[in-house]
């Protein structure tokens, strides 16, 4: 960290260690809410808020939380921030709140957040942890926005529908309704993961699961799986 400076903590999440396209974490919201670009952006920003907040809290409390009960502690902190986001969106953006539905509550079990808590915030001081949260959150938001943009343009022939900057393509624009369905989400994500692999010149991960799971180190269920990659702090 000393060599590369604080900026690195922020930029690594954008492409090189992008949580969605390279780390393959948090797949459920990535697929479920990205049929429209606006929902994808909202989900990304909500997750980013929770990630920054929980990273800061966990980093501040890293010497207080006993190792034996750290997971329940992290989950309570994360769920607390999720409840805050839920209230904020309900109050200020009720339409987005309606669209995201239970997926807002499901931010609690988004493995990006628990993963960053376990691998980074619990071992680093507050400032790098916040930057890490901002970078990872921005990487997640950008990937979701990219998927949402592709799916909305190809599936519905519009972009950012429901916002002041909405662009609606003429009726002659051919749309493929498959891109609005779950199948389109899988397809778009598959192509983007391949693309990210080309750009980062890394092979796409062979499988999701224990190898990519941030809990692999502490999870007793993963003894057969290879150790999760450790953060060099």
């Amino acid at each position: 960290m000393k060599n590369k400076g604080y900026l690195h903590e922020f930029t690594k999440g954008l492409l090189k260690e992008n949580p969605t396209l390279v780390g393959l974490l948090g797949m459920c919201p990535t697929l479920a809410v990205t049929s429209q670009a606006f929902n994808a952006l909202g989900m990304g920003l909500a997750t980013m808020f929770v990630l920054v907040g929980s990273n800061l809290m966990i980093s501040l409390l890293r010497k207080v939380i006993p190792a034996t009960v750290k997971l329940p502690c992290y989950i309570v902190i994360i769920a607390g921030f999720v409840t805050i986001v839920d209230f904020l969106l309900h109050g200020f953006l009720p339409e987005l709140h309606e669209n995201l539905g239970t997926f807002l509550s499901l931010i609690t079990v988004n493995c990006i957040i628990l993963g960053r808590a376990e691998m980074f915030a619990s071992k680093n001081p507050p400032l790098p942890s916040v930057l890490d949260g901002l970078g990872m959150g921005a990487g997640f938001t950008l990937s979701l926005l990219a998927i949402g943009t592709i799916r909305e343009i190809l599936g519905a022939g519009s972009w950012m529908a429901g916002t002041p900057i909405a662009i609606v393509f003429p009726d002659a624009f051919p749309t493929l309704s498959i891109f609005s369905s779950t199948a389109g989400g899988f397809l778009t994500l598959g192509v983007l993961v391949a693309l990210a692999g080309l750009l980062t010149k890394k092979k796409p991960p062979a499988e999701v699961g224990c190898a990519a799971c941030p809990m692999a180190g502490s999870c007793t269920g993963c003894t057969a799986a290879p150790e999760g990659k450790e953060e060099t702090a």
Binding site: V109, F186, G190, C222
Partner: protein
């Protein structure tokens, strides 16, 4: 609609038309992670059915308690803690009382705490206003739907292993594209109920 009809409708909805994994994209991590082999798909599926049923049974009364105290906003925090606690308890109890079952399902249990399908089914039960019995039945049906998706997909993946795929798409990208095709096949069921 009599009881039998509503039981069957819930089952068909959870398995075919409204499958958590293939139609609503919930529980994708275990779907992609554990579906490599048929045996692990079945093991994970059985563990999920079991935990979902128990989690639904445990969270429903807790919600009633929170509602009585006007603390509904605590449901996310309360539910995830109950699920985490419950998974631990099940693991300990199973280890002591049912060692053969523990050997078969034990390794999948810790992975279930962060399985969003479990949290989602408990939240959905509340949102949809099910009765206590129907909430548990719905949770079990969703678990069955999850298992079926995993088992089908493990079959598809075993064929991908043998296929000749361009270098860039090897691994996860090919798996995701295959998942898209399986998901398309399930859209044929929409409108059945």
């Amino acid at each position: 609609m009599n009881l039998f009809q509503s039981l069957i409708t819930t089952l068909l909805a959870a398995v075919l038309t409204d499958n958590y994994v293939l139609s609503r994209s919930i529980g994708i991590c275990p779907f992609l992670g554990v579906s490599k082999k048929l045996s692990s798909s079945l093991g994970m599926g059985a563990a999920v059915i079991f935990v979902m049923g128990c989690a639904a049974a445990a969270t429903y009364p807790i919600y009633q308690l929170l509602a009585m105290l006007h603390l509904e906003y605590l449901q996310t925090v309360a539910f995830i803690l109950i699920i985490a606690l419950f998974v631990q308890l099940v693991e300990i109890a199973m280890k002591k009382l049912l060692p053969p079952l523990y050997r078969a399902l034990g390794v999948y249990l810790p992975l279930i705490t962060t399985n969003c399908a479990v949290l989602n089914v408990t939240l959905n039960n509340i949102d949809d206003g099910y009765s206590y019995g129907m909430a548990i039945w719905n949770a079990i049906c969703v678990g069955i739907g999850f298992t079926i998706a995993l088992v089908i997909f493990s079959g598809v993946r075993s064929r991908i292993e043998a296929a000749d795929i361009p270098e860039t798409f090897k691994g996860i990208p090919a798996t995701l594209v295959a998942a898209a095709l399986v998901s398309v096949s399930f859209t044929a069921f929409s409108g059945m109920i």
